[in-house]
Amino acid sequence: MNFSTKAFCDEGSAIIDLIAFGVLLQIPVLMFATVAISTQHQSFALEAIARHAIRAHTLWPDKQNTYQVVKQLASEFGIPYSSLKWELSCRPDPDCKKADSIATIKVRLGELSARAIHAL
């Protein structure tokens, strides 16, 4: 069996060409896809956590309750809660109990972040 080859030339082994170009070129593509899709999955997760947490908070303005919601959602998305940072603010009423208040939550995971707002 001939294992020598020349790129872009008729002569040589098709097996070597197939491995070199067909398989080895796929590895960087696969690596890029893995990293990018993982990043996008985290973005989806942050967006969902922010959206649901702010809804939970406006329905029941209690920070402990919102903490439980965030923690549960993070575990459902496979994100360790310890790596997640979130901050909740409400204005003009910091307790989020008066009508006309706007609640804002910002969830962060590394460089990624998501923000959701909700009016009471």
Binding site: A7, D17, L18, F21, I102, A119
Partner: protein
């Protein structure tokens, strides 16, 4: 008889077999890359739409609250005030299309934004416009 044609067919296909396998491999890699980019772009469109829906719902709720029951006033101004004050993370060129009320109880806010993928620099950026709407209702 089909068998009688075999030698000549075989000879023809053998003469057309020549060529480099490298181009097939590179073509396959490019095809894979394009597939990955399309999947990422689709995800990005979905993410933008979700963000816009969240903002549209918040806008509708805010307008409903700020209007204090009078939905015959200029609801667009209330919505624009809300959008101007609140930072819209992850959304670009958000525009208010319409804010309408129906039955004097429901507010419907429709927003559009231009779509920016996560990886802003690749070729599919700044292609489309995404719209979404949110509704809020007071009373039965």
């Amino acid at each position: 008889m089909p068998g009688q044609f075999m030698p000549s067919e075989s000879k023809d296909s053998k003469s057309k077999d020549s060529g480099s396998m490298a181009l097939f491999g590179i073509g396959l890699a490019v095809l894979s890359l394009i597939t990955v980019l399309i999947v990422l772009a689709s995800g990005s469109v979905y993410l933008t739409e979700r963000r816009l829906t969240t903002v549209a719902e918040a806008t509708a709720l805010s307008v409903l609250t700020k209007a204090k029951g009078d939905l015959n006033q200029d609801l667009g101004k209330l919505a624009r005030d809300f959008l101007a004050v609140n930072p819209l993370t992850g959304l670009h060129n958000v525009s208010l299309v319409e804010v309408i009320s129906s039955e004097g109880k429901t507010v419907r806010a429709r927003l559009c934004s231009s779509w920016n993928p996560i990886f802003v620099n690749y070729m599919l950026s700044e292609v489309g416009k995404i719209c979404s709407e949110g509704l809020a209702r007071r009373g039965r």
